[in-house]
């Protein structure tokens, strides 16, 4: 652990924490505009989090310690996972850092505790959300693994910072097979962040809800942590997609100018992707729950095809 690494960890985590809520509200804003509404202000998610942090916490009488610790565990897992995705600059290699399989497992751990806390309060609604979340997870996990395996196979490494570095050094033109990856990563992004064809993040009322049902029993600062970790999850998955496809502008060493440029370029790219996601969402209606596997299978198919493509070229 050298100074470079510490600087990287602090900067990356701070950036993720500060920037994540903005993307959440931007997507909401884009969706509102697509529907002809004015929408909430862009800083609304920050206000919301601030308000929630000041409120008191109320627990159900039936809830156990799981309910109390799961928000902390959830955000901790996701913050550790966020360190694996370099945004501010690509740090020098450290052993045991940045492995994509470990990254996936961290995400799964966060999801596990979220589902557990949904069950914990004993309300039927939360239990239903958890059950659905686990059903979706068991179908999307193989797809996610396959997509990550395809990326690792193309770039010949399982280390995420090294992957970004490889694409940054060469060009995407050297890896034509990478063209197949974005569509499956995009579908994974939609599923993992509980967006429209799969789930609706806007509402607490519909019977279709998955993510919102699980955090229904949380209140006050704990709810704020859950909301924030949702934003972080979205941001790191977007960063994975962006940095594998368009890593240009990212700095490879820790100079002030380099860091500023990579942050600025990332913000621009992330805002564009957020707008794309908002528009994409507006075009779709929610898919029936039992039809979801069809949607995931397209991502699986494309990831599998990527591997065959790579074998052939």
């Amino acid at each position: 652990m050298n100074w470079n690494m510490i600087l990287y960890t602090v900067l990356n985590t701070a950036f993720v924490l500060l920037f994540a809520p903005l993307l959440v509200s931007l997507i909401k804003k884009v969706k509102a505009m697509c529907q002809g509404r004015r929408g909430t202000p862009l800083l609304q998610t920050y206000f919301q989090l601030f308000k929630l942090f000041k409120k008191e916490i109320i627990y159900s009488d039936n809830s156990s310690f799981i309910m109390r610790i799961s928000p902390y565990l959830n955000i901790a897992f996701l913050l550790v996972a966020s360190i694996f995705i370099p945004i501010v600059f690509i740090p020098a290699q450290e052993s045991g850092f940045g492995n994509i399989i470990l990254f996936l497992y961290l995400m799964v751990c966060a999801r596990f505790f979220m589902a557990l806390s949904g069950l914990d309060a004993g309300s039927t609604f939360g239990g239903m959300g958890s059950s659905r979340e686990m059903t979706i997870a068991s179908i999307i996990e193989p797809t996610t693994l396959m997509a990550c395996a395809a990326i690792a196979f193309i770039l010949k490494t399982t280390n995420i910072p090294e992957m970004f570095g490889t694409v940054l050094d060469g060009s995407i033109l050297q890896y034509p097979t990478l063209f197949l990856v974005p569509s499956s990563l995009f579908i994974i992004l939609i599923v993992e962040t509980a967006r429209v064809p799969v789930d609706n993040p806007e509402t607490h009322l519909e019977l279709t809800m998955v993510h919102e049902a699980m955090i229904l029993e949380q209140s006050g600062p704990k709810l704020a942590l859950m909301e924030l970790s949702y934003g972080i999850k979205q941001l790191i998955l977007m960063a994975l997609l962006i940095n594998i496809l368009f890593p240009w502008g990212m700095a490879t060493d820790a100079t002030a100018a380099g860091i500023l440029i990579s942050i600025a370029s990332f913000i621009v790219k992330a805002l564009i992707l957020a707008v794309v996601m908002g528009v994409f969402e507006s075009f779709f209606a929610k898919i029936r729950f039992f039809r979801l596997p069809d949607f995931f299978m397209i991502a699986f198919f494309l990831s599998f095809a990527t591997i065959v493509f790579e074998l052939l070229s």
């Binding site: 033109l173 050297q174 034509p176 097979t177 063209f179 197949l180 569509s183 596997p293 069809d294 995931f296 299978m297 397209i298 699986f300 198919f301 494309l302 599998f304 095809a305 065959v308 493509f309 074998l311 052939l312 070229s313």
Partner: protein
Amino acid sequence: MIDTIIFNDIIHGLFVLILGTAALIINQRSLTSLFNIYAAQSLILAVMAIVLFIEYGTLNLLFIAILTLAVKTIFIPLFLHKVLKRISVKRDLQFMFLSPASSILISAILIFVVYLFFTNIAGDLFADRLILLVGVIGIALALMGMMVIFSRKRVITKTVGYLTMENGVLLFSLFMAEMPFIIEILIVLDLLMIIVLSAVLAFGIDSGMEEFHKKLNRLGIWIED
């Protein structure tokens, strides 16, 4: 002539799009979108033929591109849309034997099997990696079309399966213009396509296979035992 790397990238990108459209054809339920996806797939093939024409300069390829563009991206989809307007069916929700999810899974396995076959058994035939890739994608596309034919219930969707199959063979032949056998397969498939299209046009496009047989039986074209 285009730069080799860029040429390879364009070709790869187009292959990716073709595979994507094939996956969509397997699980799309709305008939309107199904025809649009088919038109898009044919358009990609036409673009590919044009790119190959610019690279190799064979006039044959240009004709293929024009033919594909005229017939498969404009005429056939328009015709199908027109037919769709007259019938009451707007969606094909029935699947036989396989759910769409499992047929996509199987087509992924199919691609891999075709790949194994081409590299292990027919590997010597294909010195060029690009030709090998084309072979795998083309044959896999034809097999996926076949899967559409047997997993869909409506006759009109089966037709799209035939058309996809034909696209696969066309893709294969684009890169091997000197193989007359391929052309023959293409013609046979075209014939099949025309037969299905015209039969469907004549005898109730909105019926399932069984009713269709009955209708044919009544007319004395198909004798059932």
